[in-house]
């Protein structure tokens, strides 16, 4: 009984395992936030290691995460950071980036949350790491902390950079 209790107390029910690990990133063709007439698809990023960060201007914990992403963007030149602006007003989203800084190489819009469903997103923020072959290698639910960057993201990114295409 005590063993079950101890196990249960240490589980995090908020962390739902993603069925996408080591599977190809779901495809989409989405309008860019800065220039809606241009589209971006995961195929355009083949051969690169990239982060896919789901964010929104209405999301409170994204604010906490934002400074850390800004720092990561400065530090890690090698990884492309793509933002998925999830169920947001484009004008709010642009203001947000203007005020808080823009860590994203590019952000695409998902106003109806359809790309979110395809990626199994159930909360914002979420961050995926995609390798050069276009496979999802890691998913982080909730805001990325400075510790997560040091302990998880940086080691993983350099490992993935070293892999061949």
């Amino acid at each position: 009984m005590a063993v079950f209790l101890a196990l249960g107390l240490n589980l995090k029910p908020g962390d739902i395992p993603s069925p996408f690990i080591n599977k190809p990133a779901p495809t989409f063709s989405a309008a860019k936030l800065d220039s809606p007439e241009e589209k971006l698809s995961p195929n355009d990023l083949k051969g690169k290691v990239w982060l896919f960060n789901v964010w929104a201007s209405w999301c409170v914990s994204c604010r906490a995460e934002h400074a850390i992403l800004n720092a990561l963007a400065q530090q890690q030149q090698a990884a492309v950071i793509v933002g998925l602006n999830y169920k947001d007003e484009p004008s709010d989203a642009k203001n947000w980036l203007q005020n808080l800084g823009n860590p994203y190489n590019v952000s695409v819009m998902d106003r109806e949350g359809r790309i979110g469903i395809d990626w199994g997103v159930y909360g914002v923020p979420e961050t995926f790491v995609i390798d050069k072959k276009g496979l999802i290698r890691y998913k982080h639910t909730g805001p990325v902390s400075a510790d997560d960057v040091q302990q998880i993201f940086l080691p993983l990114l350099s490992q993935l950079q070293a892999e061949s295409e």
Binding site: I16, P17, P19, F20, G113, R114, G116, I117, W119, G120
Partner: protein
Amino acid sequence: MKRLLVLFLFTLSTFCFAVDYRQLPTPEMQETYESLITELRCLVCQNQTIADSNAELADDLRRQVSEMLQQGKSKEDIVRFMTDRYGDFVLYKPPFKTKTGLLWLGPAAFLLIGLIVIFFYIRRKQSAAKTIFSAEKERKIRSLLLEKSGQNKKGDTF
């Protein structure tokens, strides 16, 4: 007054069921839709199905279910679509797998353990009761009892 208040409180509870309002073109689709949304979990609130939850994600997932049904997708297609994206956790009733074995067999195993414990407990008690008196003493008791029942003519009122 008190009665009125109670009645008022009861009517409040009915609003809780008014989360969903989608109407699908055919009764069969509507039926599948309604059964599906009570089987899929809202991943934000976790302990609610997407039929019960008014979280935005639940609404998006209901939209997804209704659109897929109208595209002619079957129930199995939709369940697969959801588990491909959200994993088995999206199912309110988890499938039987090695990972969920403990969940499904746990209660039965505990019942079995309980029954075994009770079985041995009773057997020990019985054998303990049997050896309280020696064979000689038991004969004595029996003869005394017989004597007693002989006095009560009907023999059934100890």
